[in-house]
């Protein structure tokens, strides 16, 4: 499957890279990291311009994240109306908002480049729980800049082996993300176990 995306990049250029990062930030199953690696590799081979690839990837990602965040805002307003009708649910909402208040910027930043499979869901959650647009956008821009620099840079450096590199990175990112989810659930389990005593 990676072959298909590599040939889309070599045929249609930087444009494909921007579309891919945009769609993947909306939780569509597009292997945008493969596409950015390919973009970097074709910069190294002189087929694509560095500036065009980086700008397209970054713009696609930031715009996609904003769309997800706005959708969360809209969905969140509807959800809050329902949740606040019962005190128990309202308490859950307050807890979620406190969590986002405290960890929002770190979470948004880390889910751009390190735990990237969680990114689209965090966009929606950040919008729904009322995270400030400025705080969201600032950590989003920093995180996406790092994401684009990492993948385009690695594609450029290891242009000769992007197929294997793409598989290696894809699995490593999935493992790190699953490990973070495991740790999070582990903390909840630990608290549940302690609460019994």
């Amino acid at each position: 499957m990676s072959d298909l995306f590599f040939s889309l990049v070599s045929t249609y250029g930087a444009f494909v890279v921007g579309i891919a990062t945009f769609l993947s930030c909306l939780a569509l199953p597009i292997p945008s990291s493969f596409v950015m690696l390919a973009g970097g590799a074709f910069v190294a081979s002189g087929d694509l311009a560095f500036f065009a690839v980086v700008v397209a990837a970054f713009a696609g990602a930031v715009i996609g994240d904003q769309v997800g965040f706005r959708a969360g805002r809209y969905g969140g307003a509807v959800m809050q109306e329902r949740l606040t009708t019962s005190p128990a649910r309202a308490a859950v909402l307050v807890r979620a908002q406190t969590f986002v208040e405290r960890w929002g910027m770190t979470g948004v930043f880390l889910t751009r480049w390190l735990f990237s499979p969680l990114g689209p869901w965090v966009n929606f959650a950040a919008g729904a729980t009322g995270m400030g647009a400025m705080r969201f956008t600032l950590s989003d821009i920093l995180g996406e800049a790092l994401w684009v620099a990492l993948y385009v840079g690695l594609g450029y450096l290891f242009a000769a082996n992007i197929e294997t590199l793409a598989s290696l990175l894809g699995n490593a990112v999935a493992a790190v993300t699953a490990a973070a989810v495991t740790a999070g659930l582990g903390v909840l389990l630990w608290r549940a176990a302690k609460a019994r005593h």
């Binding site: 072959d3 990049v9 081979s45 694509l48 294997t164 493992a175």
Partner: protein
């Protein structure tokens, strides 16, 4: 304790075990690709590659590539073409084109070794 958790927080426990299994699964796959990469440096020639990409990746002089494809230097100007597009233009399978390029690379490398 596990039995208490199983009774009171069944879904949380199952989710934790599922996430743990996925972590080990993907970590294992990443390790397999890391080992594979350390042993396979040359990619196979594929239709998505451009002549420029092959020249860069295999560290060839552009003339070797131009010779293998029967192109002159001027053909390198203008829009990039993939091997798949070149093959389609000529009405030959990509595999035929790839075999020709691999033979030219082998020739070039043999020549390099003999020259040293």
């Amino acid at each position: 304790m596990v039995r208490h958790l199983w009774q009171s927080h069944r879904w949380l426990l199952l989710g934790f075990l599922a996430a743990l299994t996925l972590t080990l699964f993907f970590a294992g796959r990443a390790a397999v690709f890391a080992v594979y990469w350390s042993q396979h440096r040359d990619e196979a020639i594929a239709g998505w590659m451009t002549p420029g990409y092959i020249v860069h990746s295999w560290q060839l002089p552009p003339e070797v590539m131009a010779g293998a494809l029967g192109l002159s230097r001027e053909d390198g100007e203008g829009r990039r073409l993939t091997l798949a597009e070149i093959a389609a233009d000529r009405g030959v399978p990509v595999a035929t084109l790839a075999a020709g390029i691999e033979a030219a690379i082998a020739d070039y490398r043999a020549g390099e070794e003999a020259g040293q």
